[in-house]
């Protein structure tokens, strides 16, 4: 294991590495573009006009800041459970309401930033991959707003199970391409987006939806998502006069989690938990790359991946299309190796139960992705004391999942 760094917030190095993870593992055709993007993003980041422009759209278009909401009934419910087990604990639970953003999830934070960078670079055509469709919807939305061509690659399996988002994207003027290759889910959508990019390299900007891909994407997406954690810090200070004691977020590629975690990484008092999708169970089909995978190279970066002994990438499975990916952002791999973040998992069944619990207790229907984080809150909060402040990132709303969950629950009644 590596020795602990002075700061957990200083990565990546100039070659895009977080420890051994990250890097730029792409075809030569793409390499000049990635270097251009790195330069353009560095200039934008240092440009106060860019920051002002982004702040303006965050406030008036996205609807930020998103509230930090005290989930009183969920807290009470879990305190009852704690009391029943004789502990008399139960953390005070706050929800970071990213599901209230325009387009219904945290994805818009990143897309806004990337589209503004694409405009600075003079790119007129935007491509994206999407799993649940949340990133696709956010990309289609901002392309509509700025008059850009938009093509979204989506696995054919996901097109079927997330139909409401497909309709939304098309309504917003995007072209949705169902991907029939491989396992027909998020990883194949990313392969197909890369194939488009390598073909249309001169006019196209690839808007990656998570903290993965070749450098500078993991860093850039993290930076755009870090508004989540930065707001949480200020809001918790205002609500409770101090830092939270723990943070918890679901992880597919890991962008909502990284956005919440990053501003707190150097606060040693803050416990941090990421929750991967355990699908049918960790001994069966799942999508928990850190728990069930090992380091490898895919989609431009070295990171933990689900694969067989021959280095062939394995199928992931999760009830949630947004977590159904056999990899994870490289910075998460590094945070796991350094031990700064604890990575847990939740099964399909646990997520379904959490989905229903939050809907009934708080009147908030969470995305199935976010329900994975709630599932671990249900377990962890009763074990903590009543003065423990726990923040869970409610990364998306569950409207898109209502037909799918409805079908599953209907099937069980009959």
């Amino acid at each position: 294991m590596n020795s602990l760094p002075n700061s957990f917030r200083s990565g990546p190095d100039e070659r895009g590495h977080f420890g051994i993870f990250g890097g730029r593992f792409v075809a030569e055709t793409l390499m000049p573009l990635i270097l251009d993007l790195e330069k353009a993003y560095a200039e934008a980041r240092a440009d106060s006009a860019f920051q002002r422009e982004m702040a303006g759209y965050r406030k008036n278009y996205v609807g930020r800041p998103s509230p930090l909401y005290f989930a009183e009934r969920l807290t009470e419910h879990l305190r009852d459970i704690s009391a029943a087990s004789g502990r008399a604990g139960g953390a005070k639970i706050y929800l970071k309401r990213e599901e209230l953003n325009h387009t219904g999830s945290h994805k818009v934070n990143n897309v806004l930033g990337q589209i503004l960078v694409a405009r600075r670079m003079g790119k007129k055509r935007i491509i994206a991959e999407t799993g649940a469709g949340q990133h696709g919807v956010a990309t289609a939305t901002l392309c509509a707003r700025f008059g850009l061509d938009c093509v979204v690659y989506m696995g054919a399996v996901d097109v079927a199970r997330q139909e409401p988002n497909v309709i939304r994207m098309e309504m917003l003027g995007a072209k949705v391409v169902p991907v029939q290759s491989g396992t027909r889910t998020l990883k194949d959508a990313m392969n197909e987006a890369l194939r488009d990019w390598v073909t249309n390299v001169h006019n196209t900007f690839y808007c990656i939806g998570t903290v993965a891909g070749p450098h500078p994407y993991p860093m850039m997406v993290r930076d755009f998502q870090s508004v989540i954690g930065a707001e949480t810090r200020a809001q918790m200070q205002e609500a409770e006069g101090r830092l939270p004691d723990s943070l918890i977020a679901c992880i597919g590629g890991g962008s909502n989690a990284m956005g919440l975690f990053h501003p707190f990484l150097d606060d040693a008092s803050v416990e941090i938990f990421g929750v991967e999708a355990a699908g049918h169970g960790l001994d069966k089909l799942h999508a928990a790359s850190l728990t069930g995978g090992r380091p490898g190279v895919l989609h431009g970066n070295r990171t933990y991946l689900l694969m067989d002994d021959d280095g062939q990438i394995q199928d992931a499975h999760s009830i949630s299309a947004g977590l159904d990916y056999p990899g994870i952002g490289p910075e998460h791999s590094w945070l796991r190796e350094t031990g700064r973040v604890t990575y847990l998992s939740a099964t399909d069944e646990e997520a379904l139960a959490a989905f229903q619990l939050l809907s009934r207790l708080e009147g908030i229907i969470p995305a199935l992705e976010s329900a994975h984080a709630i599932a671990r809150v249900i377990e962890l909060a009763p074990q903590r004391s009543k003065d423990h402040l726990m923040v869970v990132n409610l990364s998306g709303r569950g409207d898109k999942d209502v037909p799918q969950v409805g079908e599953i629950l209907k099937g069980r009644k009959t």
């Binding site: 070659r15 890097g23 730029r24 055709t29 390499m31 890369l194 073909t199 694969m307 021959d310 062939q312």
Partner: protein
């Protein structure tokens, strides 16, 4: 260090012609047929043999090569079996260079050092790894050079004069010019534009420059061979192989000849060109 690749290009220079380079996927449609096809290639006219290593996520490949990889994986192809296949090929063939082409992850998981030792011992001469640009040279390129294997780099239309020196710095054997921005099996660039691009690369290097992507016919192969040191054909061969399979995707009695026949006509196209 001189490899079979260097020797082969020296011979071709004496003959005054370009190389015909074939690409097929290891284990497609099954390991035994794949070996039989590769064994037939030198006599059919292949000067250099590129062998794909199948990977589940070939993001630089078009539908034909993707399907070839799926067939190979379904037939149980692995890195170990690919190396064994080259070892078997080398039993009777010591002159034709063999270049392995693929993606990094299977090599990384096999273990870089072990892979280089085993590849060299199997009789492999060079490597083309699509997702290892010069920025990641320390991963495999430098170790491969030390192990006596050529590391063949792709140059593309987006590799400008400023970047070319970095791309060529640790390249050996030959330079593979990808004639279009795109995936394998895409439409071809016209031979005039390719000729100009090859000329541009040659101002930066003495290495032979082979051109690939989009070459499907003997005429196109001849056009490319007039301006370059070699023409690479992949997807067209994979399509010929695929077209010879039965409805269940299994090899038929005609599979080896379907590929060898196309190789012969493409080789004739290349040989009909006079290198400049």
């Amino acid at each position: 260090m001189s490899t079979r690749i260097d020797t082969r290009f020296a011979e071709l220079r004496k003959q005054g012609r370009a190389a015909f380079v074939t690409f097929l996927m290891a284990g497609d449609p099954d390991p035994a047929t794949s070996l039989a096809i590769i064994q037939a290639l030198p006599e059919a006219g292949a000067d250099i043999i590129e062998i794909g290593m199948p990977f589940t996520d070939p993001m630089a490949d078009g539908p034909a090569v993707q399907a070839a990889g799926r067939r190979a994986l379904k037939a149980g192809m692995t890195v170990t079996k690919t190396l064994q296949m080259i070892r078997d090929f080398r039993q009777n063939e010591d002159a034709t260079p063999v270049v392995l082409m693929g993606y990094y992850n299977p090599i990384y998981i096999y273990g870089v050092e072990r892979f280089l030792v085993d590849a060299k011992a199997a009789g492999i001469d060079g490597l083309i790894v699509v997702d290892l640009p010069p920025e990641e040279d320390s991963e495999l390129c430098i170790p491969a050079m030390k192990a006596g294997l050529n590391f063949i780099r792709l140059a593309t239309p987006t590799t400008d004069d400023k970047r070319l020196p970095a791309v060529l710095a640790n390249t050996s054997g030959f330079v593979y010019y990808v004639s279009i921005t795109g995936i394998t099996g895409s439409a071809a660039a016209d031979s005039a534009a390719v000729g100009a691009a090859v000329g541009r690369i040659k101002r930066h290097t003495d290495l032979p420059v082979c051109v690939g992507f989009g070459i499907r016919t003997p005429e196109a192969a001849r056009g490319i061979a007039e301006g370059a040191d070699g023409a690479v054909v992949g997807s067209a061969l994979v399509d010929a192989l695929s077209g010879s399979l039965d409805t269940g995707g299994k090899a038929t009695a005609g599979t080896v000849n379907a590929v060898a026949g196309l190789v012969a006509s493409l080789a004739a196209g290349v040989r009909s060109a006079r290198a400049g």
